[in-house]
Symmetry: C2
């Protein structure tokens, strides 16, 4: 009914909690949500498209983007950079479309610093036991490495305080339904829309 900006939603949580599965299911259900396309310096693989799978950049270009504060977050894995371009996010939001980011806890904290207006959702494991099982079933690593990852997960959970919402991932369908409720209700938050409604009143 009125020209409203989109909202940036950030889904994060400890490793092993199932962020990717929840994000995929959400995108199956919600067709009015834009997925944030990442930037990377890694080489384009066969079948991948620039601007669809990733925005591909050289190391030099990427480091200039970092220096110019053009990334909402970035990280380096195995000699390659990955990051979230600020301009793509801002343009999509300005076009009235919501953006959804699924991202590690460290990256989410960078986004929060650069874009505090975002809505931050923390995916919580149904129990520590289950998180342990999930991490162990994935890990091809030594018991020591598993313990280290579990300790990391614990300290990631401590970061929950920086988030707006906590959704427990006891059931993927249920978690996705809750996230969809959060998306819809955030569009009703008074501080986002009161100005436009008051304008309506003046025009009326």
């Amino acid at each position: 009914m009125m020209d409203e900006n989109g909202i940036l939603f950030v889904l994060s949580g400890p490793s092993g909690v199932g962020k990717g599965t929840v994000r995929k299911k959400l995108f199956e259900r919600a067709d009015d949500l834009a997925y944030s396309i990442s930037m990377t310096t890694r080489e384009r693989r066969a079948g991948e498209q620039d601007g669809v799978d990733y925005f591909y950049k050289t190391h030099e270009q990427f480091e200039k983007l970092i220096a110019d504060n053009e990334l909402l977050e970035h990280a380096r894995f195995v000699n390659n950079y990955y990051g979230t371009p600020r301009k793509y996010v801002e343009d999509t939001l300005a076009a009235g479309k919501d953006i959804f980011l699924e991202i590690e806890v460290q990256g989410a904290m960078q986004v929060k610093e650069n874009f505090p207006k975002g809505v931050f959702i923390f995916l919580f494991p149904p129990s520590l036991e289950e998180l342990k099982d999930r991490i162990m079933s994935r890990a091809t690593e030594s018991p020591d490495a598993v313990l280290k990852r579990l300790k990391e997960a614990r300290s990631e959970i401590e970061m929950m305080d920086a988030y707006d919402y906590v959704v427990v991932n006891d059931d993927v369908e249920r978690a996705v339904t809750k996230i969809q409720s959060i998306i819809q209700s955030e569009h009703c938050r008074r501080e986002r829309i009161a100005k436009q409604y008051k304008k309506l009143l003046e025009d009326g």
Copy 2:
């Protein structure tokens, strides 16, 4: 999954906006929501039950409840008092059940003062034109009285700033769906549940 308190939701908005219709439809859909039973000094009518339709009180009892701050809000119409009992609301919330209040703007502001933890939802007319039509179609009053009510509605809309959410009542089904989203997402708000989740972590 854990012993969480219920949440008090307050639906309000200008007269003529359709609060009652929205509330009825919501209760048809949501069976896990308690309706706040009002207290009144008016006489019990045939078929009405104490503790179901109203809690019936004498004038003396009611005025003592006001003096003891036992009402979240109250008002007087045609020599009778009507109000929302604090104890009933608090007991229901402590039992883990949400309470839903549908109420005039003045009363909602009293509730907010007495119970700031509540979630306040403002029902907004689709347009001022439509609000005018609705008020006029109801009124058996003079044109002057209609104008006065419309002026009141305008100043009630100005009170929107005290609310957490704004839901436009352009379509009853859509408005109810939005309110259900707000109810679900408020149960995911980090500040409500982080303490319980952290406890889980210590136990785990």
